[in-house]
């Protein structure tokens, strides 16, 4: 696969490590009363769609950026690639 790095252009996916679902960006509030439940959900449950999937890739053999890649798991077509830090910052979190 080729991942269109938002800063570096097309790069072979071999340079990356895939972590999984981008929902891992949404780490719950550890101090909340329901933290046990929200952390369980955060850590263990997955939508796992056959279709559009937002997921985290790390440019380990490159610039060390974490990316959010939007990819179709049925066709492998990549629809969007963003810097994870941009996504989080734009999400207004923390």
């Amino acid at each position: 696969m080729i991942i269109e790095h938002p800063l570096l252009g097309p790069r072979d996916s071999q340079e990356f490590t895939c972590l999984g679902d981008a929902s891992l960006l949404q780490r719950p509030d550890a101090s909340a009363d329901d933290a046990a439940e929200t952390f369980f959900d955060y850590q263990y449950l997955r939508d796992n769609p056959a279709g559009t999937h937002r997921e985290l890739w790390y440019h380990e053999m490159g610039d060390r950026s974490w990316l959010v890649v939007t990819r179709d798991t049925a066709t492998h077509e990549i629809l969007a690639v963003e810097l994870a830090s941009d996504v989080v910052t734009a999400g207004g979190r923390s």
Partner: protein, 983 residues
């Protein structure tokens, strides 16, 4: 060595005669021959035996689809089984052997199988060999395995090397036939970056095999001219002997270049083959088409061949398969074959055209509306039986039979993304359908556009369309004039009969087998394939699939389109495993990382051990020591008695800076780091979000906004990734910067009661490293040896008074020498990873053996280190009910008694309990002989371990038939109060 069937003409170089052997017999050929063409020229028809029935088999094709003519090439460790004679370029001295026969090709004892074919039909083995039960592995299976397989590997390591490579282009053109050449010319002339690959060693595809003219030249001349023009363009790379074997996601094409297979051995240093990864913005598949046979009884005899292959051998290689040849066809191609053969002086026995309205022939006797219903002959065809239009029979003698059942476009690469080809009725063939990989266009015969003129035009047009998509404007160039005969075909798949008619010759699948599959309800195409093995041979069904589908469609009453196809997968042609591996094999499988003192350690005669990606000194044997334990015991005792030194540069080191560095560490470590004073070091426990321990290590605070983290050697990469995850994905709001410092520093542990005295020799005098000025867990930047900048950490993995001193890596070699010199008065002893391991077990420090990914802080007895005052990764999920159970595992020390040994991997049982899973209470993680204690000791996890110090347990190791007794104790065998550390 007369080449009895060699004709005049052809594209061979008669000035370059070559010798080769087949099954030990010497033959002659010419440069430009393939092994197949040379064998045919020498009158060799029988070249192999079939897989199951051991039927005699000959050459069928002139290309990579060849199912029958598989031979073993070369000798010794270069022996190459299952090599297609049709794709083997002849070189002088080439050695080839037939395979899957005993004792000889002409007389094969396993040919007996053919007599019992009635009992050996599709899937027979699923129905028998079940009794007696024990006989399967002992009797039946060994016999089956010995009989199965085709060629044999040498059993020796492959002596050749293989490379991988990477190329980029705007347009990749696959196939250098008329469509591919025209596509490459169009794009190349327009200035696009073009790569043109073809599996043949010369360009032209079918143009090298047909008698036709292109642009006023012979087809071959035009192709050579086009190839020459392309080779002259700086933006075009022409790659002969290169097969596109697979299409992967997003325009990545895998191309195998056979760099040296046409040579006796590769040139020194150069690879046998290169597997190119071609990154193509766009691609055109111009892979041509494959002619199919027609099934009839005994249609597998040597001498029965694709009509197009017959033309190729006569036109290109000047090799006639026989003196008298019959032709069986359902389309006009048979007539074209007759014309070419006749022109070359071959006698045509007859043209048998299954179409009642077959065009008249002025070349040979024509039997319109007739079929070939059987063949006969020993080890090769001698006669064919015709069933005439009027129902009559006729026998015809011939030395070969050319069969044309129509052409299948080579759609295979279009299916590599699980695309499904679609049936096109007028050419009675599958063409590319839905799911063609994005960016790939198909041109020419590969999409059913067969005539040369239309293929040329299609190649140009597809190139123009692809370039347009890339935003390149190109003006349309004129096309050369060429043959434009339309295709007329009346499908005929098989001729009904009573004997066996072969569909898949390599796997010995017949029409009857398909019938049986139908009868037993293996009707889905995938069931058909898997039950009969149709299409599962090396050609992935290129010569057989459509025939088999057609037969099944007839049986089920469905159309071929409804019946569908199985999936073609990479590789397009069988590809050596070594080619996929490239250079990353053997010792070069993965890079080797060397610590800075490596060269010095090698001089000392150290024994090295692979520690993850590193090569580390394991121990330093001295003269007279005959067993590793002697060396290790000495290293341990010397360190504990006086002073030892060990290269610990392999630990991961991560430089962490920024105004939020402390808060960042508070999040990633379970304990507190923002409160650590500058100039101090602290042990940190890092959890995964699921609450399990990920890693541990010491982190020093070098400045207000500057920390240096150390990780275990094994987890350095993973921890860095995790920190970047936290930094970028969880807390991009924090001001934190990370950089690996692992390679930058040569770091040595200096441990033992005399450690300070040794260091005082090398540390520049202005730095006070006395216990008071530089206490336990202190750290600081100093200089050594007259001004070399260094870092000093007072930390201990051994339990002794110890320091780790770090200098820039370039000085590591000199530093170890300086330390050894400085410690000479104290008998300073270098120690390796074994002694390091012994001392850490004695001290009760955990490593990867304990941190196995299922261990919590609580299991380690470190529950208190998980701060509840702050949010840290893993803290929440570490609190789940089963992870805080009262009877959970707890780290303990184990000391063997009565001379027993603690063995890592043994399971722990309380005294007096049955040895069964219900009473299994834990396991031993680490073991060592402690020369200090004089006993075998270890670490382990046992239920409620913290409350069981002093209790006897049994260490059960039934795997090795051993058991031992040990006493549970604190994991700190040495200095539990830590007085030595602080001394």
């Amino acid at each position: 060595m007369t080449q009895v069937n060699r004709l005049d003409g052809g594209l061979i170089d008669r000035e370059a005669p070559l010798d080769f052997t087949f099954d030990g017999r010497r033959y002659g050929g010419f440069a430009g021959d393939t092994l197949a063409s040379a064998l045919l020229a020498n009158g060799v028809r029988l070249v192999g035996r079939s897989f199951k029935y051991h039927r005699p088999r000959g050459i069928i094709s002139a290309g990579s689809e060849e199912p029958n003519a598989l031979v073993e090439l070369r000798e010794g460790a270069r022996r190459e089984p299952n090599s297609r004679a049709t794709m083997t370029e002849l070189h002088d001295g080439l050695v080839a052997r037939s395979q899957n026969r005993f004792p000889s090709l002409g007389f094969d004892l396993m040919g007996i199988n053919d007599r019992f074919s009635a009992f050996l039909g599709a899937g027979f083995y699923y129905k028998t060999f079940m009794w007696p039960k024990a006989f399967w592995e002992r009797v039946y299976e060994p016999l089956i395995r010995q009989a199965a397989g085709l060629g044999a590997l040498s059993g020796d390591p492959d002596p050749d090397v293989y490379d991988r490579g990477f190329r980029h282009c705007d347009l990749l053109v696959i196939g250098a036939g008329p469509a591919g050449l025209m596509a490459a010319l169009t794009a190349g002339r327009a200035g696009a970056e073009v790569i043109l690959v073809d599996e043949d060693f010369c360009a032209g595809g079918r143009l090298t095999m047909e008698r036709e003219s292109v642009g006023g030249l012979s087809g071959n001349e035009w192709a050579a001219q086009a190839a020459a023009e392309l080779a002259g363009l700086p933006n075009v790379r022409v790659m002969p002997r290169s097969t596109a074997i697979g299409i992967f996601d997003h325009g990545i094409y895998s191309v195998l270049e056979r760099v040296s297979d046409h040579l006796p051995v590769p040139r020194a240093g150069t690879p046998r083959q290169i597997l190119w990864r071609v990154y193509a913005k766009r691609a055109i598949l111009a892979a041509g088409a494959t002619e199919r046979l027609i099934a009839f009884d005994n249609n597998d005899r040597p001498g029965i061949m694709q009509a197009g292959a017959m033309r190729a051998y006569v036109n290109r290689w000047a090799a006639a398969p026989a003196e008298r040849i019959a032709i069986f066809t359902n389309n006009d191609d048979g007539h074209r074959t007759a014309a070419d053969l006749a022109a070359a002086g071959v006698e045509i026995a007859a043209i048998i055209d299954s179409r009642p309205d077959a065009p008249a022939s002025n070349i040979a006797e024509l039997f319109a509306g007739a079929v070939v219903s059987n063949s006969s002959g020993r080890r090769g065809i001698g006669h064919v039986t015709l069933r005439l239009a009027d129902g009559g029979r006729k026998h015809l003698s011939c030395g070969a039979l050319a069969v044309s059942g129509g052409w299948n476009p080579n759609v295979h690469l279009t299916c590599h993304h699980r695309g499904r080809p679609q049936w096109q009725e007028d050419i009675a063939a599958f063409i590319p359908g839905e799911g063609v990989p994005p960016g790939l266009a198909v041109a020419g015969a590969a999409r059913g556009i067969f005539s040369t003129a239309s293929a040329l035009a299609d190649g140009r047009d597809q190139a123009l369309a692809q370039l347009a998509e890339l935003g390149m404007k190109v003006k349309t160039a004129p096309l050369p004039e060429a043959d434009d005969a339309p295709v007329t075909i009346t499908p005929l798949w098989h001729v009904g009969g009573t004997k066996r008619a072969w569909l898949d010759q390599q796997n010995d699948v017949t029409v009857k087998d398909v019938g049986l599959a139908h009868q037993e309800n293996f009707r889905a195409v995938e069931h058909l394939k898997r039950y009969t093995t149709l299409g599962m041979a090396g050609d992935q069904g290129r010569t057989s699939n459509v025939l088999g589908l057609a037969v099944m469609a007839e049986l089920t009453g469905k159309t071929i389109a409804e019946t569908g196809t199985t999936i073609y997968r990479p590789p397009y042609t069988p590809t050596p495993i070594a080619a996929f591996a490239g250079r990353s094999v053997g010792r070069d499988f993965r890079p080797t990382r060397l610590p800075p003192s490596h060269h010095w350690a090698a001089e000392q005669g150290a024994v090295f051990v692979e520690a993850g990606s590193w090569l580390r000194a394991q121990w330093f044997p001295r003269e007279g020591e005959t067993h590793w334990r002697e060396s290790v015991d000495r290293e341990v005792l010397a360190t504990r008695r006086s002073v030892g030194v060990c290269d610990v540069s392999t630990l991961g080191k991560i430089d962490i800076q920024g105004s939020d560095a402390g808060a960042f560490l508070d999040l990633v470590y379970s304990n507190m780091f923002s409160t650590l004073p500058v100039g101090k070091t602290r042990y940190g426990l890092m959890l995964r979000e699921d609450g399990m321990v990920m890693d541990d290590g010491t982190t020093a605070r070098l400045g207000e906004t500057h920390y240096l983290m150390t990780t275990t050697t094994a987890n350095a990469v993973g921890v860095y990734r995790h920190l970047e995850f936290v930094r970028q994905c969880l807390r991009p709001d924090m001001d934190v910067q990370l950089i690996s410092a692992t390679d930058s520093w040569a770091q040595f542990a200096v441990a033992g009661p005399n450690a300070r005295r040794v260091l005082q020799v090398v540390v520049d005098p202005q730095h006070d490293i006395s216990n008071e000025a530089f206490p336990f867990m202190a750290c600081g930047t100093i200089s050594v040896c007259g001004g070399v900048m260094a870092r000093l950490f007072r930390i201990s993995f051994s339990g002794e008074l110890a320091y780790e001193i770090a200098v820039p890596s370039r000085y590591g070699d000199a530093m170890i020498r300086a330390l050894m010199a400085a410690g000479d008065a104290y008998d300073i002893t270098p120690y390796g990873t074994e002694a390091l391991g012994v001392m850490r077990v004695e001290k009760g420090h955990v490593t990867g053996n304990e941190l196995n990914g299922t261990i919590t802080a609580r299991n380690l007895g470190m529950a208190k280190m998980v701060s509840t005052k702050k949010d840290s990764i893993g803290a929440v999920l570490a609190g789940r009910e089963a992870l805080v159970a009262e009877d959970g595992l707890c780290l303990v020390g184990l000391q063997a008694i009565d001379g027993d040994n603690v063995t890592a991997g043994a399971h722990l049982f309380a005294e007096g309990t049955p040895v069964d899973p219900a009473h299994d209470e834990g396991y031993v993680t680490s073991a060592a002989w402690s020369p200090h204690i004089g006993a075998s000791i270890g670490l382990g996890f046992i239920a409620r371990g913290a409350d069981r110090h002093g209790e006897m347990v049994r260490l059960m190791n039934p795997l090795e038939g051993r058991s031992a007794r040990a006493r549970i104790c604190s994991p700190h065998f040495i200095d539990p109060e830590g007085e030595r550390l602080r001394g």
